[in-house]
Symmetry: C2
Subunit: 164 residues, 2 copies
């Protein structure tokens, strides 16, 4: 009978059972596209947040403003579809941008339910600078990557998500 053995909770596990980890092996995770894509996205967004702080634009705000810039009269619905945002979550952003007098709502010419979104003069001025900053950020990342590597990277990323 094994009665003489110590009860398990008092039996210190042998060191083979409780190894310590000195250096963390992340090689399996690093072989996965999703892991690398997420880490890279977070790294770029971190720099983006710093550089865009003067304009008080977070990445999604910038995306919204940029689409309005290049698509004057775009509707909320179109913004949601293009950016993968749910309508209830866009309302607050658009309200905030309108309150800052960066954009203005105008009635849609053909659909009485919809409102077309337009930049104000202030909004246009801000976006000229903000888009320059965004483009400069790309140039800075291109110091980690060569210009052609950056082009390749973006092309491959598009292949991943546009194949949906």
């Amino acid at each position: 009978m094994p009665r003489l053995r110590m009860p398990r909770q008092f039996s210190p596990a042998r060191s083979a059972d409780t190894p310590a980890v000195d250096e963390v092996d992340t090689s399996f995770l690093e072989s996965l596209l999703g892991y690398n894509a997420r880490r890279a996205a977070l790294a770029v967004i971190e720099v983006f947040l710093e550089r865009m702080a003067p304009y008080e634009l977070k990445p999604v705000d910038f995306s919204v403003m940029s689409l309005i810039t290049h698509n004057p009269g775009i509707t909320s619905r179109q913004l949601c579809t293009a950016l993968g945002i749910l309508p209830p979550n866009l309302v607050g952003m658009v309200n905030a941008l309108e309150k800052r007098e960066l954009i203005a709502r105008r009635p849609h010419p053909r659909d009485g339910r919809a409102m077309g979104l337009h930049l104000t003069g202030t909004g246009q001025k801000l976006m000229r600078d903000a888009e320059k900053t965004a483009a400069a950020l790309e140039a800075d990342v291109a110091t980690r990557l060569s210009a052609s590597e950056l082009r390749t990277l973006i092309a491959l990323l598009k292949k991943v998500y546009q194949a949906e």
Copy 2:
């Protein structure tokens, strides 16, 4: 005097002032690395969520489990550092995985404050299947990309975030 003009609120804006957008132009955003990286990450994570649903592992849970798999005895602190998670936010995940009896806490051999994390038998069996599924997911993405494109993509993504 311009008194005869309609008050602005009753004056329908001319169509030149309120254009409608038929097709949304996203070309500027698509030129930005951050935008593309985020979209690609979201696309891969979406598939990941579907495929990992049978194991009830979200991406972060999988990352935690995978690091424990390849680093038996890893501490919470090491997990947080490796994955960019804040300690308070890891507690709930580890508790949940322990409650599911996928992992077990054992005292750290050299540091009385820390606990080493280890897979249980159940956890090992689950992770054998889950990591196979994760690798198969890569192969599926490789139908959108060639094998060499996938390797290039991952290498370039690493360059972006490891240069931090």
